[in-house]
Amino acid sequence: MDRQSIEQLLWVIPFAPLIGALAIGLLCALSPKRGSFPSRTVVGFLACLGPLASFMVAGGVFLALGKSPETTPVHQTLFSWIQCGAFSINFAFEADRLTAVMLMFVTFVGTIIHFYSIGYMGHDKGYARFFSYLNLFLSAMLILVLGSNLVLMFLGWEGVGLCSYLLIAFWFDDEAKAIAGKKAFIVNRIGDFGFVLGIFLIYTTLLKNGPSSLEFSFLATHAYLLAPVATIASLLLFTGAMGKSAQIPLYVWLPDAMAGPTPVSALIHAATMVTAGVFMVARMHFLFDLSPLSGQLVAGVGIATALVAALIGFGQNDIKKVLAYSTVSQLGYMFVAVGAGAYSAGIFHVFTHAFFKACLFLGAGSVIHALHEEQDIRKMGGLLKKLPITGTTFLIAWLAICGIPPFAGFFSKDEILWSVFNTWGAYGKILWVLGLFGAGCTAFYMSRLVFITFFGKNRSSTAFEKIHESPPIMTIPLIILALGSVLVGFFGIPEALGGSNVFASWLTPVFGEHTSATHSNFIEYVVMALSVSVAFIGITIAYIKYVRKPFIASEPRGIAAFAEAAFHVDALYRIVLINPLFSFTRNILFRVVDVAIIDGAVNGIAKLSSVSGGLVRRLQTGTVRTYLYYFGAGAALLMLIVYIGKW
């Protein structure tokens, strides 16, 4: 396909799933007897159609961008969205090579997870509703990725937030899940608060120097004008990223988000939506490049998040919660990379992470499915024998996340650590050490999860014989993703290992040349070896602790209990922020200001007039003669006044 025709088809990518979502939604809403028609097959078919179409067009975009010698992005303007004086926003899509990477894996993983969901959600009452939401999500995510300006990106940004809310609260009759959904949306809104202020700051700053626009292409060429406000603007945008990508202090929503169905956790809360923050920082890299300080802060927040989440991961016993904290932790690594200016390394980790984390989540879903909604790993064990495909794919993804070569995670994580090692001198070295430590922690808690779940003796309440492997519609996606977890890393083989890092050179037109190759290969080998050995140490400790000694479920004590309670961060927020604010509102603002002061004043005036009226009323006796006396007295008084006035 040539460039022109693919340019005309760009709109298909986000709109195909949207049409799917609307079609499913309308079919359900209009069907006379809910649930009977449309049948599950029809819904499933419709649901997979949109993502497939998007995937195909995305492939076309990818090829077109790969082929063409020019590196200008593919652009399609649909219509003028907001036009108000000098302020103008187009509803336009734009795809450069960064977008193409995002498009490829979002649509690919998205399609696979749609297939998986046909099996996983097969018996759920809200089957059609689920697919409608999931399609809507994919559409919003693709708008986020494809939007050619910040406002359109924000539309997708909020759209994915909404779908995330809807899907977390999918089983809404469970109050805890409904609350988890609400929490996710509100915490994201706190981030969005920063995001919109960042957009405003960028726009108004550019306005001082002539015409302004929020198109990415315009921003990239006029970034130098933003230099005076680069730190504040980039940090405001990063606040948005902190919300969406679950960084400290706004990460609290993501573990709770596991209340949603497992495919949702895989697609939205691991592979795609939560990486939107990283994507946004990479998209706005020209802004972050202008401020070294904000880069350092981003990396600092990233490494802190990576470590804290990894430590919390030690004490979690819910299979999905462990994975959730590991997602938070891996997102931290991605921010370390983009903070350090190694955007392609960050995006590479987004890319590989999408495969192995989706594989882990879907594997966990398969386990949960087999054990009839059991999620506590203390009640699992020995499952590898009963669930061979799930188990094997899970193990592959586990090795990938631990960073064992040659699995995908190794290459991306190593690239991140290597680029941090090379940036910022001492600060970079500290980050590297912490990152290395975090990698060890990751290996440990992931291994703990794997060993407790798949090895040892069965502790589940389901009879061991009755545990069955999932149907092919679920295992085939697992196999594909596991293959991906092995293979996608090879896109980024570093030059030190004789590769050419295809991934980084693909993105060079977007991010520019990342020059750091001043070190000899020897140091790179050492760094690489260190990170691999740290991973092995983590795995070994976990092996000794959970495989050599039989695992006994016991009440956690001390630090373990602290980690299990996620460091009591939720409780802290509640006590320090939320409760004071609302009790202040209820007791002071509403009861005192509104009811007592303002209403009191108004009602007081009303009371005053009614009391004074009551007094004056006594004068009205009802006898005409009394009035005559008043009249006479009044007339006399008037005459007196006139008489006195004469002098």
Partner: protein, 516 residues
């Protein structure tokens, strides 16, 4: 450019005629009453569509009609529409059939009077918006009050008498000062010894700063009560809560906007200096309103009261947008008014539907309704998202433009105002979760009927408009822009030399003028 048919007079007086006609029909034939008023209000909507179709996006008043009433005092019957009023008129004519339709089941006694009063109210609202003569404006302004008084007082909830008296007293206090202010301005607008109440003449009055400050006090008190701005808002929750659904919808959808309209029509063009001097106060009050309304909304236990307080918050945005005096702010404020009419109107309709099913408005009485009334849940969700300003729906456009304009004027103000975006999500999602999600705790909620055909007919146009206005705001923005541009010129012209407002803002205007 236009036909010789007096479109605006027909539009205005058709509801009045129907009101009289309704009074002649026998009491008790409620079917006749509601069908007649539905047909007429739909027809009025059609007429307004024709007007909109022929409306030309300039700042010149269109469809003007004029003949003198009291020549000696310069009072005339003169009506016209321009970019400020056209979409508010549309909002009135759009919401009135919906209000009629939503009352079919709820209003069972005195239907003749109820529907008559709704039409009388429509007459008053359209009249207020199209009046091009200050005295005419004032007369219509007061006419609006009367039907609302009866609608709340006769068909309201338990504390309706308290609410309706509070409503009328608040509004009356303001409108008396308004009358004095109008007469004074008209007297100052005398041409060749002839006093003139024509609004266009008033716009040319030159007033000293001292006069402007006094008049600003008189005008803005009247209008700010109607908006309502903090701290003059306490009549609103009571009036909203006690009013029947239809009354709440009109109150939130249109009556509140009359205050904002007053600012646009009278305060800014006539009193530019005072507007600039008072701007910081008004902006701070607006921001307090945004945050305060949202916070207080959160602690309400009564659904309707929650929605009512959300109005305080939303109208805070509108006023904020106006008082930063830039095109984006004015346009955003204008857009936000229409948005608020749709989204809050929809929320009140939904609360009404819930009330008709369960006869309670307490949040704790609901829960898990998404299971029993899924369609209502969807409708509720979309309305709520429109209200929290989700991009892609109408609320976003208004909020975004307002906040952008505020940011250009002062980032600090914008930061405070934008926190309302978070709080808006907090109270509405809290409401939704309590009502629609969770387990069904009350037995009565298990067998509720879902959206009926009539209710679907009510809600679908509103939802469609929300989406359309969210994706294609330009047809509206384009038509309001020239008028807004004119007000900005009027309000900024006199103060250019006395007050340097904001560098970024001036720049913005510079580039806008450059565009043309």
């Amino acid at each position: 450019m236009q036909m010789n048919v007096p479109m605006l007079s027909i539009l205005t007086f058709l509801p009045l005629g129907t009101f009289v006609l309704l009074l002649l029909t026998p009491q008790g034939s409620s079917k006749l009453h509601r069908n007649l008023s539905l047909c007429v209000s739909l027809f009025v909507f059609l007429i307004s569509c024709v007007i909109l179709k022929d409306f030309i996006p300039t700042s010149i008043p269109q469809f003007a009609e004029r003949f003198p009433l009291i020549d000696k005092w310069g009072i005339s019957y003169s009506v016209s529409v321009d970019g400020i009023s056209i979409f508010l008129v549309m909002l009135v004519t759009f919401l009135t059939p919906i209000v009629v339709l939503c009352s079919y089941k709820y209003i069972t006694k005195n239907t003749r009077e109820y529907y008559g009063l709704i039409l009388l109210l429509e007459f008053g609202m359209i009249g207020t918006l199209v009046a091009a003569d200050a005295m005419l404006f004032y007369v219509f302004w007061e006419i609006m009050l009367v039907p609302m008084f009866f609608i709340i007082g006769m068909w309201g909830g338990e504390r309706r008498v308290y609410a309706t008296i509070k409503f009328v007293l608040f509004t009356l206090v303001g409108s008396l000062l308004l009358l004095i202010g109008l007469i004074y301005t008209a007297w100052k607008a005398s041409k060749g010894g002839h006093i003139s109440f024509a609004i266009s003449d008033m716009h040319n009055v030159v007033l000293s700063t001292k006069e402007q400050l006094w008049l600003f006090g008189a005008f803005s008190l009247a209008f700010a009560i109607k908006v309502p701005m903090f701290p003059l808002h306490t009549w609103l929750p009571d009036a909203h809560t006690e009013a029947p659904t239809g009354g709440s919808v009109i109150l939130a959808g249109v009556l509140l906007k009359m205050g904002v309209y007053g600012f646009l029509r009278f305060v800014f063009p006539i009193l530019p200096t005072a507007s600039h001097l008072f701007a910081p106060v008004m902006i701070i009050l607006s921001i307090i309103g945004i945050i305060y309304g949202a916070l207080v909304a959160f602690v309400q236990t009564d659904i309707k009261k929650l929605v009512a307080y959300s109005s305080v918050s939303h109208l805070g945005y509108v006023m904020l947008g106006l008082f930063v005096f830039s095109l984006q702010g004015f346009q955003g404020g204008m857009y936000q008014m229409i948005n608020h009419g749709l989204s809050t109107g929809a929320l009140f309709l939904i609360v009404g539907m819930l009330y008709e099913r369960r006869h309670t408005r307490l949040m704790s009485e609901f829960g898990g309704l998404a299971k029993t009334v899924p369609l209502l849940a969807i409708v509720f969700m979309v309305s709520m998202l429109s209200s929290v300003g989700l991009p892609g729906l109408n609320g976003f456009i208004g909020e975004f433009l307002i906040l952008l304009a505020t940011f250009a004027a002062s980032p600090l103000y914008a930061a405070f105002a934008a926190s309302g975006v978070i709080l808006g999500a907090v109270y509405l999602f809290h409401l939704y979760q309590k009502v629609m999600f969770g387990p069904i705790t009350k037995q009565e909620n298990e067998k509720l009927p879902d959206l009926s055909f009539r209710e679907a007919i009510i809600m679908i146009p509103i939802l469609l408009l929300m989406v359309i206005m969210g994706l294609f705001p330009n047809p509206i923005l384009k038509r309001t822009e020239p008028s807004m541009q004119k007000i900005i010129q009027q309000v900024n012209l006199s103060t250019m030399q006395t007050r340097d407002f904001s560098a970024a803002l001036q720049q913005d205007q510079g580039s806008i003028n450059h565009d043309r």
